[in-house]
């Protein structure tokens, strides 16, 4: 199940984006110190793509 409730809106064309992936990353100090998910020992990043123009965007998962 996708973990964030609100869809991302494409910055390029305003379309609602499709949430198609979640990627576990291990932040370094340079990324601002995002809080880790204790289950995965890292940060889960959502990846979204716009069906209209193909723009890619990401954000940290909310849960």
């Amino acid at each position: 199940m996708a973990t964030s409730t609100s869809p991302m809106i494409c910055a390029g064309c305003g379309q609602e984006m499709n949430h198609h992936a979640e990627k576990l990353i291990h932040p370094t100090g340079a990324d601002g110190g995002s809080p880790k998910d204790s289950v995965f020992d890292g940060v889960v990043e959502e990846v979204h793509e716009c069906p209209a123009c193909g723009e890619v965007a990401s954000r940290r998962s909310m849960s």
Binding site: M1, A2, N18, H19, H20, A21, E22, K23, I25, T28, A30, D31, E45, V47, E49, C50, P51, C53, G54, E55, V56, A57, S58
Partner: protein, 189 residues
């Protein structure tokens, strides 16, 4: 099926070595991709990328390269084999992005002066590509003894490579088209 937007499949020339024969391979791959309808391509030469070498990972991200990866549906990596491994500069470049690659197709073209066509470097590269979120195809192209495959002008001497490239690109394009549909229309559940 006709896509509303053409597939973007850039070719990354993954070596900075002087006198590199991989450049002939990369140009051949660009030419063969450009002959296919519904596909756009370009050559990305890692030598031309202004990436820092005093840091690593996404901290070195170049906006132009990131935009090219963002817009790509698939990648062709031309990867010479150095000391039984892949090019360190190719790894440095690939590491500069992450989200831009996820659920996109990738095919690897190996190059070597010896007989194995870069196969050992490709095998080492596959787990790296997986961790980057790329989806590898099961066809590779192996340019062994590359110094004999092209003439001095870069013209291909052995037409057998064209059939191998055709199989490779057909699979890559199928995967690129399928993954684009998934990225844009199939939600993670």
């Amino acid at each position: 099926m006709v896509d509303a937007r053409p597939l973007s499949i850039p070719v990354i020339l993954g070596t900075v070595r002087q006198g590199r024969k991989s450049a002939h391979v990369a140009r051949l791959m660009v030419f063969e991709l450009s002959r296919r309808s519904g596909v756009t391509t370009e050559l990305i030469d890692v030598t031309a990328l202004p990436l820092r070498i005093d840091d690593a990972g996404e901290a070195t991200k170049d906006p132009t390269f990131a935009a090219q990866m963002n817009g790509a549906d698939a990648l062709v990596l031309v990867s010479p084999e150095y000391n039984h491994g892949y090019s360190g500069m190719l790894k440095h470049v690939l590491d500069s992005c992450l989200k831009e690659y996820i659920h996109k197709a990738v095919g690897v073209v190996g190059v070597s002066a010896g007989p194995f066509g870069g196969a050992r470097g490709i095998q080492d590269l596959l787990p790296v590509l997986r961790e980057l979120g790329l989806v590898t195809i099961f066809w590779d192209v192996y340019f062994g003894a590359v110094q004999d495959v092209f003439d001095e002008s870069g013209a291909l001497r052995d037409p057998a490579y064209l059939r191998r490239i055709d199989k490779f690109l057909k699979e890559l394009i199928w995967m690129a088209r399928t993954l684009r549909h998934g990225r844009e229309h199939i939600a993670l559940e």
